[in-house]
């Protein structure tokens, strides 16, 4: 099934003085997808969101919504709504008045305003807090009011700026699933700006990872994790071990370690880096032969993380630590401690060779 595009961004540039905060960004948002704009602070993700909302004019480029150019349309006439990082709830209005505000501006009939407000408050479990003012609500409740206030407008696209940033860890995890449920239920396209890669992986169908105003890689969450196209992506999303060297074909020559094997479809040549995820590395206390890559080393540190343990190993000829991740119940874990001789092995197909 090919989903329809809701928004198309074409060569969007946003310049402040000589600085290109958003630098030639093009991608499309599909109908009913959960999309994440991910990146470190200052990568331009929030500016891009503000361009979509209409609070920032792009220096150049086009934004099409259902095929219509939006650049000249003021924010209040765009069928998009935004949930602000600070929530931006009106402090002098009750939760209900906050939610109704947009419908009142649209001059809808009274009965429709009342019905839609009541409906969205049920969906977001806010009915019992209708008469409270924002100061009398908890952080999680405020977040839901902000969400309801935007959703009640039935926007084509909901823009969310760091929606979970102000919540504590437990609540954040619950809200990630809650947002996903709401998005599924309402079928509205969500665009979330976040700097938290885990949040993006949990919630988003597709992720655009941004760096220095540009989109570094865009694709389904699993693709960014399993098939990163650059070292930056492999490093930003999840954890990775990197071995710098010179690549040719599916192999890379690393000083001190010799030839390392990558996947057969690797096509990089010249200066490159081999990236392998810690959970792809097997740990043995005796030499093994059945892997493409296997190196002897000494355990320097074991970091306990509850559900799993991170084993820091120093190879005999490679002074930087290599990290392997094992489930805490793995029997190998019981046998090793600091100073143990181990062999780390992984297959070429589980690694990536990336241009450096």
């Amino acid at each position: 099934m090919i989903a329809k595009n809701v928004i198309e961004l074409r060569n969007i540039v946003k310049q402040y003085g000589a600085v290109r905060v958003v630098d030639d960004v093009s991608f499309e948002l599909r109908e009913s997808e959960f999309f994440a704009l991910l990146g470190p602070s200052g990568c331009g993700k929030t500016t891009l969101l503000r361009v979509m909302a209409g609070f920032a004019d792009p220096s150049s480029g086009q934004m099409l919504l259902d095929g219509q150019d939006m650049v000249r349309v003021p924010p209040r006439r765009r069928p998009l709504n935004m949930m602000f990082q600070s929530y931006a709830l009106f402090p002098h209005m009750t939760a209900e008045a906050n939610i109704r505000y947009g419908l009142e501006n649209a001059r809808l009939p009274k009965e429709e305003i009342a019905r839609r407000t009541a409906e969205i408050m049920v969906t977001t479990q806010l009915t019992e807090f209708a008469r409270r003012k924002p100061a009398q609500l908890s952080g999680g409740q405020r977040q839901r009011v902000a969400l309801a206030r935007a959703l009640v407008m039935r926007p084509r696209v909901l823009l969310l700026d760091e929606p979970l940033g102000a919540l504590d860890k437990k609540l954040r995890e619950a809200m990630q699933l809650e947002l996903k449920r709401l998005q599924n239920e309402l079928g509205i396209t969500f665009v979330v700006v976040t700097h938290d890669q885990e949040e993006a992986l949990v919630m988003a169908d597709r992720i655009a990872l941004m760096r220095g105003g540009r989109v570094e890689q865009i694709g389904p969450a699993s693709e960014l994790y399993e098939k990163p196209t650059s070292r930056f992506v492999a490093d930003f999303i999840g954890q990775s071990n990197f071995f710098e060297g010179t690549a040719s074909g599916s192999q890379i020559s690393v000083d001190g370690l010799g030839l390392l094997h990558g996947p057969n479809d690797a096509s990089v040549s010249g200066a490159a880096v081999l990236s392998v995820r810690p959970e792809r590395i097997k740990v043995n206390t005796t030499p093994v032969r059945s892997f493409d890559n296997s190196f002897a080393g000494t355990v320097r540190e074991i970091a306990y993380h509850g559900q799993d343990e991170h084993i820091h190993v120093e190879f005999d000829d490679w002074k930087r630590p290599v990290i392997a991740r094992l489930p805490a119940y793995d029997e190998t874990v019981q046998q090793i401690h600091e100073g143990t001789r181990v062999w780390l092995s992984w297959n070429g197909r589980d690694a990536r060779i990336l241009a450096h």
Binding site: P74, N81, A88, H92, N105
Partner: protein, 261 residues
């Protein structure tokens, strides 16, 4: 903890209260004194209030003052609030801040001379309108300063949120900005009213010579040359009562606005 037998503390408290409220109490008591003397009590009477109601000069001056203070308050509050909102959008500038503070710190006498010279230069007839214009000048600065403190911690994403929810600029001002900064605007208006109400120097310079543009402070000043008459005490008591009610209202309003946050 304050100990009850700490007589030094009690003395300090007593003296402070006496200096703060002594003059006011004396004023109020004298306004009800049958004899109208500061030296002897002749029994409770409202006769000075009756006398006041027959003093047409004072009444017309009081009406003039109310007109000046009310019109000044409305104009200065509107312009001062607009000015504060405009300045908040600009980058911080020490020069601009200094310029805004100038009408507040320039001595009244200097401002008064300047205004009179300006009015003469442009050949403006003096009267209540010239007092109003002059009072607006310095009250804009006061209103602006008060409203700016309220705007200081104003979350500007509220304006974007309002726009995002389809509101026009005017709707946003009416339903979001104004209700939030209202305590500041009201406090500014109250300040402007009070300052205009008892302003003497500038009014004296810019009123012209006719009795029809004499304000209350000017009238009282001219009467006081011949000694304090008890009906002035009655007038002062009324003014104080009204001020107290206004301040009390402002405090309550501010409290409601704060707890609503």
């Amino acid at each position: 903890m304050i100990r009850r037998h700490d007589w030094l503390f009690m003395l300090h408290l007593g003296l402070t209260l006496f200096f703060l409220y002594g003059p006011i109490v004396v004023l109020v008591v004298l306004s009800f004194n049958e004899l109208g003397l500061a030296t002897a009590w002749g029994g409770f009477s409202l006769k000075w209030y009756a006398a006041l109601s027959k003093n047409f000069k004072i009444i017309s001056a009081a009406v003039n003052t109310l007109i000046v203070a009310s019109v000044t308050t409305v104009i200065a509050t509107i312009i001062g609030t607009m000015l504060a909102m405009g300045i908040e959008r600009l980058r911080k500038s020490p020069l601009l801040d200094a310029l805004l503070f100038a009408p507040m710190v320039v001595p009244d006498i200097v401002l008064a001379i300047g205004l009179l010279s300006l009015f003469t230069a442009i050949n403006l007839k003096l009267g209540l309108h010239s007092i109003i214009m002059s009072h607006v000048v310095f009250n804009i600065a006061f209103v602006c300063a008060v409203v700016r403190t309220r705007l200081n911690n104003f979350d500007h994403s509220l304006l974007e949120a309002s726009t995002d929810l389809g509101a026009s600029t005017w709707t946003t001002f009416r339903r979001v900005t104004l209700p939030i900064i209202f305590p500041g605007v009201f406090a500014g208006a109250l300040l402007a009213f009070t300052l205009s109400f008892d302003e003497f120097v500038i009014a004296f310079f810019t009123a012209g010579t006719r009795q029809s543009s004499t304000t209350l402070p000017m009238q009282i000043y001219s009467m006081i040359k011949f000694g304090i008459k008890p009906d002035i005490n009655a007038l002062a008591t009324i003014i104080m009562g009204v001020s107290f009610i206004l301040v009390f209202m402002a405090q309550r309003l501010n409290k409601e606005a704060l707890t609503g946050r």
